[in-house]
């Protein structure tokens, strides 16, 4: 019996389909991150799980029960809102204890739970303050605390860290992860930050335009993006995606990119992908799998160095290639200068090949 189960959930606002037949399961002790750009329907999906929006179509099961048509109060879910939604006229203690009143807990129970939560989130010193007297980080902790103080069917977090600064975000990310692993309840976290999704999620569901593009373990999504959108969305700097033409399907598949030819080995080279000579494809390679070569040749892309961006330990190069801009990350930047010709080779096995329709061809590691 799975914790959360969405079956073909659809939400329409007038003519606009915000969420389009989304289906996924979240196991009892799993954290699923809904990741996607603004307006992709991830928050709407979360609000439908919470019961704050009615699904136009489809079914929602929580702990095995059909809750599609139940209001939020009947679903026993805990949710942390993007803007915290702390009750402005209640102290931190009262905010934290707010959900407990509906559970009919005794005063002693409430006090005990408050103590626990305050300890877990290190908030003892702010319990008597009002929300407007708190820092952003403290507000965030209270919002999380109010969420985890009870034992609901599931936890829902809407952009929990989006209002924090970078340093605090990193700290809270690991704190929340720690807390969540101790709770072992199905959890859905909505975020537009891929780093947050990669670090906090057991699985990631990448959404675009109301549809789930890919769902899988963070590393799996990163290594084997299902399509060009996911490939471009996950990973910083962005994966290189360059258009090419299939120019050889003998022993290995050869792809012409401008004047350069890349021969693909490994599984991609196996026949049976239905590729024909002259097919338009997209090649994807991560900037970090690049290495510099001294001259052009087989499997090497050559272009003009447009920009050198030092990033501390590494250097990001932007290379103008006839097929488009190519980004490469190198550790050694000696002898490089803007305007000069650069030859890069991407490691065999790092290539991902996509059909003209955007979907990836073949599974490879």
């Amino acid at each position: 019996m799975s914790g959360i189960s969405l079956k073909s959930i659809t939400k329409q606002f007038g003519d606009l389909t915000a969420v389009d037949a989304v289906t996924f399961d979240v196991a009892d002790d799993e954290v699923l991150c809904l990741l996607g750009p603004s307006g992709c329907g991830k928050t709407t999906t979360l609000r439908m799980i919470a019961g704050l929006e009615n699904a136009t179509d489809g079914e929602i099961y929580l702990s095995g029960q059909d809750m599609t048509h139940l209001p939020a109060r009947a679903r026993n879910v805990a949710m942390a809102f993007q803007f915290y939604a702390l009750y402005p006229n209640l102290t931190v203690s009262d905010n934290l204890a707010y959900p407990l009143h509906a559970e009919g807990d005794s005063t002693a129970d409430i006090a005990a739970k408050l103590r626990d939560i305050a300890q877990v989130l290190q908030m003892d010193h702010v319990l008597d303050r009002f929300p407007h007297q708190l820092s952003e980080g403290e507000k965030q902790r209270v919002a999380v605390g109010r969420c985890i103080i009870r034992r609901p069917n599931c936890f829902l977090f809407d952009e929990p860290l989006s209002r924090l600064d970078v340093q605090l975000r990193e700290e809270m990310r690991s704190d929340i992860k720690k807390v969540l692993s101790g709770l072992s309840r199905p959890t859905v976290i909505v975020t537009h930050d891929q780093l947050e999704a990669m670090t906090m999620g057991d699985r990631i569901a990448v959404m675009r335009d109301g549809k789930v593009e890919q769902i899988g373990a963070p590393q799996d999504v990163f290594n084997n993006p299902a399509n060009i959108f996911v490939a471009g969305f996950i990973g910083t700097p962005q994966m290189n995606l360059v258009g090419g033409i299939v120019s050889g399907i003998g022993g290995a598949i050869a792809v012409s990119i401008g004047q350069d030819v890349i021969e693909l080995t490994g599984e991609l080279a196996q026949p049976g992908h239905g590729l024909k000579l002259g097919d338009a494809v997209t090649l994807g390679m991560r900037p970090r799998s690049a290495s510099l070569e001294s001259e052009s040749g087989q499997g090497i892309l050559s272009g003009t160095c447009e920009l050198i961006e030092p990033m501390g330990a590494e250097t990001l190069l932007r290379i103008a290639h006839p097929a488009g801009q190519i980004r490469a990350i190198v550790t050694d930047r000696q002898g490089l200068k803007e305007g000069g010709t650069i030859h890069v080779r991407f490691a065999q096995g790092s290539y991902r090949l996509f059909h003209a329709d955007g979907n990836r061809i073949g599974d490879m590691v």
Partner: protein
């Protein structure tokens, strides 16, 4: 030539006066004087019609002036205040006014609040109904008074007719002191409940939706939700409404004067009407001024108390 000369001379002297008056105009038209010049008519009117009579009547309250006598008034110090404060009639009028203020403001707050709860939701015809509900406070006191006078009329009135359906005889609301006070209170509450509604409505719509959503997720009961979320948002506005309405109703004159004429007996004679009678029927002008300043004093005290409360609440919030 002579003509030319005279006109030339005229032109010269004229030029002198033109330069002079042009100089005055230019002086007035200077950028730094333009603003004061433009507000001057309003300031002059305000001073002549409001501030001067205010100060003058304050001065009168220390003399024994009577508007229908030609004798030169003499200075009496605080005599008028002493007379007014020891006059049992004044205290009766203050009591009457207090009863009307208490009952009417309570009704206004209750109905204004309920109306605001109703109009905070969306429903068909809401905008049209809202306009109708707001109409009473935009009417003049005289028209409202005439409406209600007709409404309460024993032979023509709707009220008398409706009660007559059950009792078989005409109903004279204004015949008894209690009925007359009720009549004034109802008219005043009808007229001013929309004002309270407007203020409360402003508070209700300022509550962020996500707080209600959080309360829904936290499974708060409707009462708890109201107490912890809604009420704090409208608390200071309710106080403000209470303040405005108490002060306004305390000065109530028009409705009472027009509907009951202060009667039967003096049962609906408010302190404002009594001040009017003192001044314009008994022509004890100075004493009336003293009473008017006592009313002003009470209003200022009330205002200060409420402003203090509102400020304190704001600091807490």
């Amino acid at each position: 030539m002579a003509d030319l000369n005279t006109s030339g001379a005229g032109a010269v002297s004229g030029a002198g006066s033109v330069a002079k008056s042009g100089g005055l105009l230019a002086w007035l038209n200077a950028p730094e004087r333009r603003g004061p010049l433009l507000v001057a008519p309003a300031l002059i009117t305000l001073f002549v019609m409001n501030i001067f009579p205010l100060l003058w009547s304050f001065g009168l309250s220390f003399f024994n002036y009577r508007a229908n006598r030609l004798t030169v008034p003499s200075f009496k110090g605080l005599d008028n205040y002493e007379k007014v404060l020891t006059d049992p009639v004044v205290w009766e009028r203050f009591q009457t006014t207090g009863i009307i203020v208490g009952a009417s403001v309570t009704l206004q707050l209750i109905f204004g609040f309920l109306l605001a709860l109703l109009f905070a939701k969306t429903f068909p015809l809401r905008r049209i109904l809202l306009m109708l509900v707001l109409a009473p406070m935009m009417l003049s006191f005289v028209s409202v008074a005439i409406f209600f006078k007709l409404f309460y009329d024993p032979t023509l009135g709707l009220l008398s007719w409706a009660i007559g359906l059950f009792t078989g005889e005409p109903f004279i609301l204004l015949a008894t002191p209690a009925g007359s006070i009720a009549a004034i209170v109802i008219a005043d509450a009808w007229m001013w409940s929309p004002f309270v509604m407007l203020l409360v409505l402003a508070g209700l719509v300022s509550v962020p939706t996500y707080l209600y959503e959080a309360a829904e997720i936290d499974r708060a009961s409707p009462w708890r939700r109201f107490r912890t979320i809604t009420f704090p948002y409208i608390k200071s506005l309710l106080l403000l409404a209470l303040l405005f309405r108490t002060i306004e109703t305390f000065k109530l004159f028009d409705l009472s004067f027009l509907i009951t004429g202060g009667g039967p007996g003096a049962s609906t004679e408010t302190v404002a009407i009594y001040a009017y009678r003192l001044g314009f029927q008994f022509f004890r002008t100075s004493q009336a001024s003293a009473l008017a300043y006592l009313i002003l004093f009470v209003v200022i005290v009330l205002t200060s108390i409420y402003l203090y409360i509102v400020n304190r609440r704001n600091e807490e919030g």
